[in-house]
Subunit: 186 residues, 2 copies
């Protein structure tokens, strides 16, 4: 599997990758355990600090690791590892080591103990910023404290869940309207 | 502009349209005013009741209409009206009537006073379910109480904001992995 060469990326711009709603892989670590989960329900909440809201169901093994360690990495996979993404979402870290099982490469981050997934196009190191809605909605608010984004290709082929086991693949087709935007609205 | 023929749709399945992260148009009404805003920051929070989280900045004219009326309609536009979507996002309802200005057709809903936009592929009637984070994050939690979805085409060409005035257009390309899902995980 391809590993992406990455560069630092401004955290206030991680919305560029999260706004189109890609499926993401959330990696975590607590004590002697690591895990990966597939997540589809997330949103951008603020530019700076770079806040994102993530829904992580209490039934997931990752829920405990993330709640207890107060950190995670949000990784953005591309279509070439779509099958692996699906398998990660249909197995539990209670029974298997997902990095080993799926041949993924954990890479140390700089701000959190949770490992980056080197086969993903982008990795955002996150710390828990607000646990106020964890009990109510299983909603974690994370601050992206460090962002790593691949240098090429410029536009990643992310995958977007449509239900029934089908994913829309982010198309090459682009609609450009830069001139219609007011300054500050881009 | 094309108007879509729609049918009722189960509210617990509106995630099929919101998970891929499309740009949406939020229509609202309060007293003698209606408005439309373009929104990119939203997520699914729960299947049933069908809850969605939406970030609506306090600077928007729609913010007051929605907070005061406690309702809105989340409409899903397609690429054929992308230019209109951008113009809606770069003007303010304080100065213009956006339905009139952009030639869009308001259509009465069944559960809320806010109008549906008939040129959109889908329209979800929403009532405010939780205002607890409106002051903290400008985050509204809505319950989708009625959903209208076009009967064709089966897969809408939604638009997804990539920044810098560019939108990714939801591709025809589909990756299928139905057989890899555990029952209940689709």
């Amino acid at each position: 599997m391809r590993r992406y060469r990455k560069q630092d990326f401004p955290t206030h711009n991680v919305r560029r990758f999260l706004e189109p709603g890609p499926i993401v892989l959330v990696s975590s670590a607590h004590k002697d355990q690591t895990n990966i989960m597939t997540m589809g329900w997330h949103m951008v909440l603020e530019f700076s600090p770079a806040l994102i809201g993530c829904l992580i169901s209490g039934g997931n093994h990752s829920f405990d690791l993330i709640r207890d360690s107060k950190q995670c990495v949000v990784n953005i996979p591309t279509v070439d590892i779509a099958e692996t993404v699906v398998k990660i979402g249909n197995t539990s870290g209670r029974y298997i080591d997902k990095f080993a099982e799926f041949g993924l490469t954990p890479k140390p981050g700089t701000h959190v103990r949770a490992p980056l997934i080197d086969e993903c196009y982008a990795s955002f190191e996150c710390t828990l910023a607000d646990a106020g809605w964890v009990n109510k909605y299983n909603m974690f608010v994370f601050e992206v404290v460090k962002a790593h984004v691949a240098t090429s290709p410029k536009v990643p082929k992310t995958i977007h869940y449509r239900g029934d086991g089908e994913f829309m693949i982010s198309g090459e087709e682009t609609a450009r309207f830069r001139k219609l935007f007011r300054p500050g609205m881009l």
